[in-house]
Amino acid sequence: MSVPSTAAELIDHILTRFHETHRRELPGIVALARELEGKGATPTLADDLDVMAKALEMHMFKEEMRLFPMMEQGGNTLIVHLIDDMQAEHLDHADVVAELEHRMADLVAPAGTEPDVAALRAAVAKLFDDLAQHVQLEETVLFPMFEARPAS
């Protein structure tokens, strides 16, 4: 798949390929984790996945309602501060993902829940893979388009 090259195209791609996908998939992941908890699966993960979902929603909101509109106008003197904030949040998200990956590895499926646990593992793995691609695209392609821009 070719990656868009202009900021506007990149933003559109990030919104449709990543933001919409995260929003579509996360509620089902949290619900499945909650259902497995009810069947005795440990460690419990639903609350932590829900906290991550809410943090991710806030992050995407800031990008959509603050950073991306500014980028689509070509950027200005404030943009580096917003980019710094987003990069700091990316680091925070990476810590949360690493912790959740660790706990997912310890997940034990009670008898009869193996298919659901396998489904949860697959869904979370896909989410984390999408998140990694999402962050990498922003950090290595989109943000550098504006970081070196002189003040206007």
Partner: protein
């Protein structure tokens, strides 16, 4: 105090007992894909349509001397807009809410506007005049 203009709002915010943080959601009027011919005709003359949130910002009243300053900053920071919705977030114990504390209320504000629940916010047009929706 009656809010007859954006500058009235700024004055009112500055006079509150507790420090305020002003929340702004900029929106654009758009015509729905399934609009009827009548709706399209009204939209052509500047009426009707739906308001789509485009961007948001939070400011203390001290950071904003006038509507013109907001208009100028919004033009530099983002796309053209039609209506800006404003709400005030009150501080406590003499402390103003921070920008970080404004994020969740801004998020709720955008969701409210998307769902048409705008009664809690003051809308202004691009001239800084309050707008009433019939």
């Amino acid at each position: 105090m009656t809010i007859a203009s954006f500058d009235d709002l700024l004055r009112s915010a500055s006079q509150q007992t507790e420090p305020q943080r002003l929340l702004f959601v900029f929106t654009a009027a758009e015509l729905p894909d399934d609009a009827t011919p009548e709706q399209r005709a009204r939209f052509q003359v500047g009426e009707g349509g739906t308001l789509t949130p485009l961007m948001c910002v939070d400011k203390s009243p001290d950071e904003l001397p006038s509507f013109e300053a907001l208009l100028e900053e919004s033009r530099r920071a983002g796309p053209g807009w039609d209506i800006v919705f404003v709400a005030a977030l009150s501080g406590s114990a003499g402390r103003s809410p921070t920008s970080t504390e404004a994020e969740a209320p801004l998020q709720r504000m955008v969701e409210s506007i998307k769902s048409g629940r705008i009664g809690s916010f003051i809308p202004f047009d691009i001239h800084g005049q309050p707008v009433s929706f019939g």
